[in-house]
Amino acid sequence: MKTYRSMVLVSSDPISMERGAQQIVENLQKELEQFGISEEVSLTMVGDVGRHDALPLVIVYPEAAIYGPVKPEDIHHIVEEHLYKGRIVNEMLAASRELSGKIAWLSARKGTLPAEKRIVLQRAGLIDPGNIEDYIINEGYEALGKVVSNMKPAEVIEEIIKSGLRGRGGAGFPTGLKWKFVSQAKGDRKYVVCNADESEPGTFKDRLILEGDPFSILEAMTIAGFAVGATDGYIYIRGEYNLARKRLEAAIVQAKEMGFLGKNIFGTDFSFELHLHSGAGAYICGEETALLESIEGNRGEPRARPPYPTTHGLWGKPTLINNVETLANIPAIIREGAAWFKSIGTPSSPGTKVYTILGNVNVTGLIEVPMGITLREVITIYAKGMKNNAAFKLAQTGGSSGSIIPSTMQDTPMDFDSFNKAGVALGSGALLICEEDTCIVDLTKVLMNFFRVESCGKCTPCRIGNERSFDILHRISEGLGTANDLKDLEEISDNLFQLSNCGLGQTSGTPIRDMLKYFKAEVEAHIRLKVCPAGVCAMSGQKVHA
């Protein structure tokens, strides 16, 4: 393999592309030629690296200098000073987020804080996602090789069970157990499905994995296929994720050429095909049975369960459905062993979790850290505190269907069991952090509007319950709330939990429940005093149609 003196990475996520990343790459090529150093410097476009504050980025290794936001006309200066003369252009570095503008996880390896622990994102931002050789050099396909040549399917499943890995899609079901169910199910054909229909508001972890390291998902699905006895895999990717889809398409082609997909993988009897299926814009298709309906070409309406997809899934066959982030853990677990994985995180929830940090904080973006970190730590260390030194009022965890938690709960460790005990959903890992000027009625109204729009309409509690609760909240926000509203909201939210057919409906009452549990006084002020304490709601006293 050719060695280079320096490595230059240019961010190529949708925002960067929109802001001229392509031109930056072209200028880099031109300038490197002109300085006669194009042979010594490698130039690569990389996916989203989690620094949304300074796009587009130009990252130069080995110094790990992050320049951003970079304009095409800055390139001449960067190439001349940094790559030709060897002096970092300090004034063009991205605003200091971690120590002196260096990538957090690189600093972490040097033993400085704040540290991240990257397993599922270990290669994102470091390798060229469009080149399978880059993946292979970085431990790619080691796990698959080990599995197909030295392990029996039952041993693979045993290893995943021992690792304690739990599904990262939100529910936290033990992954190994799910694999076991599918492997034991009877059927002439079995399928592996990757749920990449990430549409939980505030969540973009799967997009980063797919854009930055698409081969890891291909490898994981092939391992899963071997373990459960499946011949075909489907990746159901959200329709809006164009770049991720293109990366996956290219990755599948390359993996086939290399013999890591298709017939006789690694020269063994094992064959596995992968298909890519794009969604067409429907939040409900993240629900696994709705997703199956959509692959089959139907409206994405959830099926009644049981029977579960593990026995009656795609076209009625046993089907394993895993989230992107769950799958991305698989190759590392096989490579490093279950014991290594268990040593990270908390005993009940081993491993890492990718969190997206959003809202009224100084630094937004994403982090991958061991399970069990607290919200306070996230806000102070990773998010660099609240914007304008405002007070922290509440956080909304796990997207719209997650929980609203008040500041008094910010020291609860974020892992599946601790959160369950506290009655909180960890969900997808979105952390929407809100300051004191956020109105709980207004926020809940926005969340219920989401469910009202995204409900598929199949079952009544969800279709009508979400519509009704939005109406009530809208009235309250206009100063037209009545004493009965609180009781009605509570009833609707109970009905949603108990009577809805699928996970969407069953969790859609959560914002209302949490609002009434932690912020009842604020809601009552809207109703009784006709005052919005945060000064957000219109309180016009007039009927306004939403």
Partner: protein
């Protein structure tokens, strides 16, 4: 787009789009969503004539096709404007100033969510999360994503579109 062309041209355009979509994905019931999506991309929406033709070629009742076409947000069953503005109305955008941007946007194009302007230039839609919340508030004009937008930037952004 198929607006303002003669009726004969219109049906030719539709036929060509349907054929191209079926050529790509095959006349297969399981491929209905990719087929409809492809037609939607080519024509800007899915006309009834297109559903008739797909129905015949894939041997699937038109009612089923329509039920699929009307279910998914990215598929349109009515013509849209030359440019489609999609504004994210979810909580992560909302709490960092999205509400003000949304008011400014509606004011500027003089449309409400779901409406198309009389001159056929704009269609205004609200959308669920676009997955770029790190730069909220976010809006999408056609395929272009704009992040960290403020109300005052709306006229500048929209002036880029003819």
């Amino acid at each position: 787009m198929v607006l303002n062309t003669k009726q004969k041209d219109v049906s030719e355009t539709i036929k060509a789009a349907v054929n191209a979509a079926i050529d790509t994905f095959g006349a297969n019931r399981d491929e209905i969503i990719p087929i409809l999506n492809d037609i939607n991309t080519r024509l800007g929406y899915i006309p009834h004539e297109a559903l008739d033709q797909v129905s015949e070629m894939v041997k699937t009742p038109k009612s089923q096709l329509y039920s699929v076409a009307s279910f998914y947000r990215m598929l349109a069953t009515k013509p849209r404007g030359r440019h489609v503005i999609q504004f994210c109305e979810n909580a992560p955008c909302h709490v960092v100033g999205g509400r003000e941007v949304w008011h400014a946007l509606q004011e500027h194009v003089q449309l409400k969510s779901g409406e198309t302007s009389k001159d056929g230039k704009w269609t205004l839609l609200t959308t669920s999360c676009l997955g770029v919340c790190g730069v909220a508030p976010v809006m999408l004009v056609d395929e272009d994503i704009y992040g960290n937008i403020t109300p005052s930037e709306i006229p500048t952004i929209l002036s880029r579109y003819e």
